[in-house]
């Protein structure tokens, strides 16, 4: 195992139980999919944390630029009418 070329990084997502979403929980280094899944199993499900694992190569994830945070997300700050709690319901409306 030579250190001249590092194995690619894989992001690990674990589904804690049936019905819940896969949640990002960390990353592993591995040479291929098969070992990435096994490494994820060995590193992140040692305490019965999951019933399903996704791994995806970190360099395949397209991420937003942190420098654009203001432009991307601040415009939503003053649009409180997008929250359901903004609207007052008549007393007669139930079950919402």
């Amino acid at each position: 195992m030579s250190n001249t070329k590092e194995w690619p990084l894989w992001e690990v997502f674990v589904r804690p139980k049936a019905g819940l979403d896969h949640k990002h929980c960390g990353s592993v280094h591995a040479p291929d999919v098969e070992l990435a899944l096994q490494a994820a199993r060995d590193v992140y499900t040692r305490r019965q944390e999951g019933v399903s694992i996704w791994v995806v190569r970190a360099d395949q994830i397209v991420a937003s630029d942190p420098a654009q945070k203001d432009a991307l997300f601040d415009p939503m700050q003053d649009k409180i009418y997008r929250h359901p709690t903004f609207y007052q319901l008549p007393d007669d409306v139930n079950h919402i």
Partner: protein, 251 residues
């Protein structure tokens, strides 16, 4: 059903000697694997090997506890692991051999866990209900060990010229110790029956790894009879020294 059988036909229950033999195999291999803790080639594999070591300790604990109950002399798992001497351990020699490099460790562990795979399958059908339950539980974890390790054997055997050469050397070294697994005796008269299933498991993996086992040799290891290699004493002294220096110590 199994319980009734065990009660009505005492001979159906596995002997203490048989339980200790398979427990010793798990414990000693676990001790060897735990030597990799902190020394694995990469963090992920370090955890993988020590996970396997912990599973093996779990198997040994269940088997020692059952053996102690059947023996009826008040010996618990610690008494078996820490307070027996070399001649009383009856693991096959294969599992006590030094780790060597990563390839040799992986190959040895693969050869033994493939044996465990067929062993648990056969014991899962045992009329001894308690042993069958341990076999059922262990079969699941062993299936994972086997597939993880087979992956490495294939990757390294069919890898670079260097890794292929190392695996070839490791196979030449380890292979002559494998017939002992299937040597039948009074304690385990059925041992030979597992050989064909083991060969059928191992052969395709070795073939895919482009590895060829050496020709059969007349050499037979004798660890199962308590006659061990020169490596066993060192292994035990490391494993047992703490418990013997502080008898009865608790975490």
């Amino acid at each position: 059903m199994g319980v009734m059988n065990a009660l009505t036909t005492p001979s159906a229950a596995a002997s203490v000697s048989f339980l200790l033999r398979i427990a010793d195999g798990s414990l000693v291999l676990s001790q060897r694997l735990s030597e990799w803790c902190g020394h694995g080639p990469i963090l992920e594999e370090d955890i993988a090997l020590t996970n396997i070591a912990l599973d093996l300790i779990g198997q040994a604990r269940l088997l020692y506890t059952l053996a102690g109950a059947r023996e009826g002399r008040g010996r618990d798992e610690d008494a078996f692991a820490y307070w027996r001497d070399e001649q009383e351990f009856t693991n096959p020699t294969l599992v006590e051999l030094p780790n060597g490099d990563f390839g040799q460790s992986v190959l040895r562990t693969y050869l033994y866990t493939a044996y465990q795979l067929v062993l648990w399958q056969s014991l899962g059908a045992s009329p001894d209900a308690e042993l069958a339950a341990i076999a059922h539980k262990s079969a699941k974890e062993t299936a994972y060990h086997c597939s993880h390790l087979a992956g490495w054997v294939i990757r390294l055997g069919d890898g670079s010229a260097e890794s292929h050469q190392r695996l070839t050397r490791a196979l030449d070294y380890l292979w002559p110790y494998t017939p002992e697994l299937f040597t039948a005796d009074a304690i385990d008269p059925q041992a030979a029956a597992l050989e064909s299933a083991w060969r059928a498991t191992v052969a395709p993996v070795l073939a895919q790894a482009t590895l060829t086992p050496p020709a059969a040799s007349p050499f037979r290891a004798t660890g199962k009879q308590g006659r061990h290699s020169e490596h066993m004493g060192y292994l035990l002294s490391e494993m047992q020294s703490l418990a013997r220096a502080h008898p009865g110590a608790k975490w």
